[in-house]
């Protein structure tokens, strides 16, 4: 469970996020929606640790992780994907996943040079896990392709796969559907649902596409004008006048194909 | 004290003016084309030698040869861009940076091939400086260099603030994405950047020749201080770069001024000053004095 308490972020004179408080409950799929410029990605970046809040606190299972560097949040089980695909373009697909596996022994430079035998077990495990993940995502045929050569949707799948290489508690998906074709999109939805059902992974996703959100999410957080407008189930949200106003009244809603 | 002004400050301002003229181009190219142009010093050398040829063949004084040097070097700059930088435009900027190292070498060897390696001067002999109030001494050519640079700075300011091209250049330097959406003709702006950057570099090169002598490493020796100047002024801020150049030039000269007869910094470490300022800026204030972009 992730909790945000009065989190704000200012860039110079601009307030990108103002006094945001909400929580991402364990074992659920939470959606974060809102018009463009509402501060969704900024909130994500703060949860993932890429940005430091100007004020406020972020908790993971009760522990304050506000000032924990990004690379240390992963060991707490916090993973993310990016809005624009952040694949490792000059590495193969299987390497893209293996790099996210636990390779603590082989990542020590002395072991890497002098004792390559002692991390072979981890390497085998990493490879097997990577292949298993590729099979789960049904892209195992692409294993030796350079990630830079994949289609946009395949890259998104790859990024989702990367979050699955260790034992995630919370997976943050930043517009996983952006730039992905319809059929692949529903496939991704199936996979997310499956991961949530079978493994109990917690998801939090930013999405523009309200249909997609209503299909997947248990709870929805609506951001508008740098703060939380409301939270609740998708049915409740859809009936909320303010949400309708924020989306449609302002004319900023860009629909499903943003 | 008057010694400080005559022998440290005035040479510092002169050197600073020369740095300023080179740094403008570096800053603009960095801001608009997004890469560190390591061949910029050699563009200065090119300008100095074109002017030298004009002085030799037409018999005009060096100052009168400046327009020829400016046009020639600006054209060279545009051609270099066409041949070597444009093909790499869509790649990560690092390829262009490496290419510019190669271009620096190409320019320098071409100059050595065409003009030889002897050091040359525009005018033979020396002139006593003008003396004011019995103590303040300044050489005529230093007055010319400083005055010219001030005029250029003012012209540049008006160009960037009021002309359409100038405004577009600033827009691209501030935010290339926005500029592209706004439908600015990027290629035209890039052409202008090279014309102005190359032209001003040529003037800087001629000034070096006017102040001391012309040799094939002239520009390369000035390159790093000019980078420091561009950083100091803030990348993408041409006038900031000019101010930065002035500061670096003055700092380099005055740092060796002996205080109470003691040299705090040995003159042999003079050139380290610019590097240290540059490092400090990179580490602590990469946006420079005038809030340039950090790429």
């Amino acid at each position: 469970m992730i909790q945000l308490e009065n989190v704000s972020k200012r860039f110079g004179g601009l307030t990108a996020v103002h006094n945001c408080s909400f929580s991402i409950p364990t074992g659920q799929i939470t959606g974060v929606i809102g018009p463009n410029g509402a501060g969704k990605t900024t909130v994500f970046n703060m949860i993932a640790g890429l940005l430091q809040p100007s004020s406020g606190q972020i908790f993971l299972d009760g522990e304050d992780i506000t000032s924990l560097p990004a690379h240390k949040r992963q060991s707490k089980g916090l993973y993310r994907t990016f809005q624009l695909a952040h694949e490792f373009s000059r590495m193969t697909v299987v390497e893209n996943l293996m790099v996210a596996a636990d390779s603590s022994i082989g990542e020590n430079v002395f072991n890497a040079i002098f004792r390559p035998s002692i991390f072979q077990k981890q390497e085998h495990a990493a490879y097997d896990k990577a292949m298993e993940t590729l099979r789960f995502l049904e892209i195992e045929k692409l294993q030796d392709e350079l990630a830079g050569n994949l289609s946009g949707g395949q890259k998104k799948l790859l990024e989702l796969g990367r979050t699955l290489m260790q034992t995630p508690k919370v997976i943050l998906l930043d517009e996983i559907g952006a730039g992905v074709n319809r059929s692949l999109l529903s496939k991704i939805a199936v996979k997310i649902q499956q991961l949530n059902d079978d493994f109990g992974y917690t998801f939090c996703l930013i999405e523009h596409d309200l249909d997609y959100v209503s299909r997947l999410c248990d709870e929805v957080v609506v951001l508008a004008q740098a703060t939380v407008l409301t939270t609740g189930t998708i049915e409740k949200i859809k009936r909320d006048e303010r949400v309708v106003e924020a989306y449609f009244g302002g004319g900023k809603y860009e629909g499903a194909h943003a | 004290m008057i010694d400080f002004i005559n022998y440290y400050l005035i040479p510092g301002i002169t050197l600073g003016s020369i740095y300023a003229l080179g740094a403008v181009g570096i800053s603009m190219i960095f801001g608009i084309l997004r890469f560190a142009h390591f061949a910029h010093g050699d563009l200065m050398t090119t300008g100095a030698y074109i002017a030298l040829t004009a002085v030799w063949t037409l018999g005009v004084p060096a100052l009168a040869a400046i327009p020829i040097a400016v046009v020639g070097t600006a054209l060279v700059a545009v051609l270099l861009d066409k041949a070597f930088y444009k093909p790499l435009r869509d790649l990560p900027s690092i390829y262009t940076v490496i290419a510019s190292f190669g271009v620096a070498l190409i320019l320098r060897s071409a100059i050595q091939l065409l003009w030889g390696t002897d050091s040359q001067v525009y005018v033979v002999g020396f002139q006593k400086p003008l003396v004011f109030f019995d103590s303040f001494r300044i050489a005529l050519r230093h007055m010319q260099i400083i005055a010219f640079t001030v005029v250029i700075a003012i012209t540049l300011h008006f160009f960037l603030s009021y002309s359409k091209t100038g405004k577009s250049m600033r827009a691209v330097a501030d935010d290339p994405e926005l500029a592209r959406i706004a439908g600015l003709d990027t290629e035209k702006i890039i052409r202008w950047t090279w014309l102005i950057g190359g032209g001003l570099a040529a003037i800087g090169g001629v000034f070096v020749g006017l102040d001391t002598d012309i040799h094939t490493n002239l520009g390369w020796n000035l390159l790093l201080p000019m980078f420091a100047a561009a950083l100091l002024g803030g990348i993408g801020r041409p006038l900031g770069a000019m101010l930065g150049g002035l500061i670096i030039g003055v700092a380099e000269e005055i740092c060796t001024f002996p205080i109470m007869e003691i040299e705090i910094i040995s003159p042999s470490y003079k050139s380290a000053i610019a590097f240290i300022i540059m490092l400090a800026l990179l580490l602590f204030r990469p946006q420079g004095l005038l809030k340039g972009r950090v790429l």
């Binding site: - | 005559n6 040479p11 002169t14 002897d118 050091s119 400086p129 001391t212």
Partner: protein
Amino acid sequence: MNKTLLMLTTAACITFAGLAGAEDIKVGALMGVTGPLANFIPPILNGAKLAEADVNKGGGLLDGQTMKLVVADSQASAQPSVDAAGKLVNIENVVAIMGALSSGATIAAANAVAIPNGVLQVSPTATAPSMTNLEDNDYVYRIVPSDNYQGKVLARAVLEEGFKKVAITYVNNDYGVGIGNTFKVEYEKLGGVVTKFSKHEDKKNSYRGELATLASSSADALVVIAYAAGSGAKIVKQSLENGFFEKFIGTDGLRDDILIQQIGAEALASSFFTSPSSPSSNAATEAFHARFDETFGGGSDKPFVDQAYDATMLIALAIQQAGSTDRAAVKNALRSVANAPGEIVGPGEWAKARELISAGKDINYEGVSGAHEFDENGDVAGYIGKYIVEGDSYKQTKIFN
């Protein structure tokens, strides 16, 4: 991949090597053709070429074979110098090497190529004191005195001129540091006062700050140990402009036409310069200079022209004396043709030398730039000339030895 490369390279080498005639006897000229000393090279190279021409006109080497000078570019820097020397010795198969110019390039080439391969190397210009103690198995020589020597002579010359108090500025490289330090030590030992002793960085635009400090020390004259094209001319010019100094004393680096071209002869009237030179008794020197200017249209007064000629000549004589192109034999013959006793042979007297050698007589080459008597370290005592500016060129007025 590597194999293909190796084969290509081999093929290229054989092609290049094949271009020279089979009868030619090759001597390497390792010169800093490009790089920081490039502007010194053309006249120096001409000096060597003149020696080559003299040998070939006077009957050639050994049994009338043609001497062929093979030029290689040391770039005045260690890595390329070693590479170029390696090619001279191994591909061009030269008998001996004339060069290199700067001490760094010379020592690197000697250590990495000439000494291990057993090739005689004679440098016309390397002046670094550290050359003296090179462990060279007697393969490395130079025909200019070490910087220690010029520094010492300079000190004497300055005192003779009546300057009891001087300020010194020297460029921070092996040349400036070498002469600067020995000059200071010797000058003070002889009773002179050094009012200020400072080094400067090459290639800066303004030296006014340093010069103001130097001027404030109220010295009679300024000793400038620097290359004219690097910092020397600027220092003289800025001193004159600001009235810091009017009298300058320079070494061979400053004694460059560039200085006269940039400053004008008049302003240099009260200055003098020293430079490795030739013995005054050698009448052949002037004839040589005239011949040089005739052949190449001028340049005989440039630094190290004489030395380049002599170094090449000495190598040719050693080959002739050895009677073969065997490298070790050539090395062993060098001292006997260079050092006394023996019948004296001068520049341009190749035919005479040939005859004497074939008659089994001992010869002693007295060159344009000196008698060249090598000591056990392969150093020469040398002659230092004193020069003043007259007209638009330098004129030698005195010889020290």
